[in-house]
């Protein structure tokens, strides 16, 4: 699923700038300008590595945690085919998490450390998963619209400069197209169904719209930092551009089904070609990301329970003399 443009980064403010070797830096930037990808054993600036670890790690956590609200519905999915498809989708998302953890590991942060940081709250995951999936309609909204947002973000990132991340994203994007179609089918089924089904879907869209608008994060600050990340092809597009792209592609698909969106200002400005909307409530966004959303505690509690419950198995199979090595690519 589930990148989202917003990368939680509390360290960037109070950190001394690291002075890089100017020759190495120039060679590195020339490589990126030539469109060459960066491989794990290449020289790279400290800030490039740090930012990529943060970004890929948070992406990985989002896949793993994002599977929880949907996984909850496997036992209650209406009908055998939907149940099987949802199991397949949830397994894909966990697989995405695995691919992304491996990509982040090539940058030197161990999987154990990433999981520790997830559970202690030091590193974050996409904010949308701190909201509950109350009905089956929520599952179709997540599958259709959250995965759609993720595809826009992931397609942009798959053209970035760090090779292992691009390779993982290429595979992930292929699987996302199945998620999108699966979610869309469920969404259309309810939208074209009985009045009760339509009401249930409309209710879910109403509840999910604010988190969906939060998904790409607040407008990027115009800063040297943002500029550098774009120059290094770590950040591939602005949060506002990605949000606009999302609205452009998906709002018409919602409206044509007679489903409304709870934002009276939402419309496409035909002169600028851009979408206008009520500015999302960013105070709410930061309140939730800092731990005070409806499901933050449950998500982390479940993840911690899994880690602890599986620990005896991992310990029984643990071989202290084996040599750990970072994955190659």
């Amino acid at each position: 699923m589930y990148g989202g443009g917003y990368i939680y980064d509390p360290e960037s403010k109070n950190q001394a700038t690291i002075v890089e070797d100017p020759e190495m830096l120039a060679a590195f930037e020339a490589k990126i300008d030539r469109g060459e990808k960066i491989e794990p054993t290449d020289w790279m600036p400290y800030e490039y590595r740090r930012q990529l670890i943060r970004m890929i790690e948070q992406h990985a956590h989002s896949e793993i945690i994002g599977a929880l609200p949907e996984g909850t519905w496997i036992t209650r999915a209406p009908g055998f085919k939907r149940k099987m498809a949802l199991i397949a989708k949830v397994q894909d998302e966990i697989g995405h998490g695995q691919l992304l953890y491996a990509a982040a590991e090539t940058l030197g942060k161990s999987r154990e450390q990433m999981l520790n940081d997830l559970m202690s709250g030091k590193s974050k995951y996409s904010n949308v998963f701190n909201y509950p999936a109350k009905t089956w309609a929520d599952v179709t909204v997540i599958g259709f619209l959250i995965d759609a947002g993720a595809i826009i973000n992931q397609l942009a990132n798959s053209k970035g400069s760090y090779a292992p991340y691009c390779r993982a994203l290429k595979r992930i994007c292929a699987e996302e197209s199945f998620h999108l179609k699966q979610g869309y089918e469920g969404f259309v089924y309810l939208a074209t169904g009985t009045p009760t089904q339509r009401t249930m879907l409309q209710d879910a869209v109403n509840r999910w719209w604010p988190p969906i608008m939060h998904f790409f994060g607040p407008a990027d600050k115009v800063s040297v930092h943002t500029e550098k990340l774009m120059r290094w092809q770590v950040k591939m597009d602005t949060n506002d551009n990605m949000r606009n792209e999302f609205l452009e592609q998906y709002v018409p698909k919602i409206w044509e089904l007679g489903i409304t969106i709870p934002d009276p200002k939402l419309r496409k400005n035909l002169e600028t070609g851009r979408w206008e909307y009520t500015e999302p409530d960013w105070d709410e966004f930061f309140r939730v990301i800092n731990g005070n959303g409806p499901c933050n505690k449950e998500r982390l509690d479940v993840r911690r329970w899994v880690e602890e419950s599986g620990r005896w198995v991992r310990q029984a199979l643990y071989k202290p003399n084996e040599m750990y090595k970072m994955p190659l690519a």
């Binding site: 999987r111 479940v302 602890e308």
Partner: protein, 129 residues
Amino acid sequence: MSSLDPRINRLDLVKTLEAEDIAQHQHWETYEVFVQAKRGGHHTHVGSLHAADHDMALIFAKEQFARRGQCHNLWVVKTSDVYALDTEDADMFADNNEKKYRNPGGFKVSDKITAYKKAQKQDKTETDD
């Protein structure tokens, strides 16, 4: 805690106090995975995974890289058993293109054939006269 998921409500979540101190390498070693998509093709590197031994690595590789049928065979190799060049040393391959004699393009014949045919034709016209 009251979750919307009855299964979660049945869990004993209270004991999860020390989850976040996973010691280094508790999640085992890494393996590199190679997929042969079709019989007759090459095995191609597709990614890596964590496992406790080769058998487990093969099971995980099947789950992770062969869920949608595009696989005929799998290899798993411990990452620590792979010897690799440093990507920064790629310049050692740079002059390979100068070794023209290794490529078909390094051998020219058509000029000689054209010249030969031309000479033959001239000879013929001379004797005919």
